[in-house]
Amino acid sequence: MKSSYPFFRKVRFSLFLIMTNSLILINANAQDYKVSTVVKNLNFPWSIAFLPNNDMLITERSGNLRLVSDGKLLEEKVTGLPDIYVSGPAGLFDVVLDPNFVKNKKLYISYSAGTPSNNYVEVISATLQGMSLQQTQVIFQGSSRNTPHHHGARMTFLPDNTLLITAGDGFNFRDQAQSLESLLGKVLRINTDGSIPKDNPFIGQANARAEIYTYGHRNPQAILVSKAKQVWLHEHGPKGGDELNLIKPGLNYGWPAITYGEDYSGAIISPFKEAQGMEQPVTYWVPSIAPAGMTEYQGTMFPQWQGNLFVAALAGKSVRRLSLENNNVVEQETMLGDRNQRLRDIRTGPDGYIYVLTDSIEGELLKISPVQ
């Protein structure tokens, strides 16, 4: 039907343009990546570490360390883990390899230890020999709490081979995030033998724990050192106010004195969103997405994503791809949202693919790869 009215012709042309552009956009996004399942039947998987032979270690919060070899989950579990306090969100947490793993076979594992009324994060060092942990040694013990919530417990290595450990505020003890006498609500820095580096920011300061690297955190759920040697961390806010932070030693990141969120009860936590001497987040999420796990993409499979941060989200049930310029987020894309799965961790594999853990009693290891 041919319209004789110029107005309707313009409307039809505009609709045609919108539809065409939408199709091009959908197609462009659809061509970026595909998602496949590598492994199923993981019980609340929490963290991944890639071994030099491309096998993967995966922690399960329920207290098991699993090995994925040649793309298959081995039935046999890695033995030699210490006693772990498993309750709700508490259990086995992170696993990271020593920077010199090829030679010394050492790795570091964080977990919750103790009892319901007295539990804490511990970190062990151990050597991986076959399917067994040997020479296990506790190198860190966090402050005691009586809740199973907000452990943090993510780890990464600084370029000087010191170990950063995140510590949550224990939920009921949020005030301690501002106290330098407590290890709750902090990023902590230790040597791999458990000793404290002599250049830690609060060394020698009265009434301050020497392990503290930064403070004022709520529940940090990812920490990484970027290619540019910057330390990125994200943390759960309360109802709203999840934060992405750029970590620098000795600084105060504000929780709970300043926050973009409110309490789950609807109560205020603080009337302030910013204050002198307290760092602002690089970006924040309201409503909360509950970020968990993060990777800076430096692989070869997705040249267009070089240097992007990828954040997995539990409540957000998606991956957020953050494009950065001068340490500011200039673009944010939501990925994997159609799968409607809580996501616990995300890592770049040595093969350049991106690997994602889902958070479920029937958890999966997903692989993001380019569409050929």
Partner: protein
């Protein structure tokens, strides 16, 4: 019966109002302890924000606690005797600690931040005691003496 219901709603609202105001001041005291200056305007706005944000949750917690507590108080007085007002005050005294304990036990956390410290729990409890006492006082006029001499509510 209708008057008892109206008085119950009224005193529960009073308890909610008092606990909410106290709760805000405790949280603001924490914020001040971090070195931040809380002006009167900030304090007023925060208190109003909490009445809107925290108030409904508090009202539900307190009304459920009072409902159970007041029923227990009523029948305790009926079958055990003693001072009626003291039974209601006792129910007001236990409302917040028991509610807090149940939430902590079931969820592993204390959802109302202000009652995580002994002083906060004490202040919230005092607010509930006052409201329970007020309930007992306002419902006293509906009492009559029965043949046994024990006061019962109509």
């Amino acid at each position: 019966m209708l008057k008892t219901i109206v008085v119950f709603i009224f005193t529960t609202l009073i308890a909610t109002l008092l606990v909410c105001i106290v709760s805000t001041q405790i949280v603001l005291a924490d914020v001040q302890s971090f070195g931040l200056n809380v002006t009167n305007d900030v304090r007023l706005n925060a208190t109003l924000d909490d009445l809107i944000g925290l108030g409904p949750v508090l009202y539900i917690l307190i009304s459920v606690g009072f409902l159970i507590g007041f029923i227990v108080a009523k029948y305790a007085h009926k079958y055990i005797g003693g001072n009626r007002t003291l039974w209601y005050v006792a129910s007001g005294c236990t409302t917040f600690p028991i509610t807090t304990y149940i939430i902590q036990y079931s969820m592993g956390l204390t959802i109302i931040a202000s009652v995580r410290t002994p002083i906060g729990l004490l202040l919230a409890t005092l607010c509930c005691i006052f409201s329970a006492w007020l309930f007992a006082l306002l419902t006293t006029k509906t009492l009559t003496n029965n043949k046994s001499g024990i006061q019962n509510e109509k």
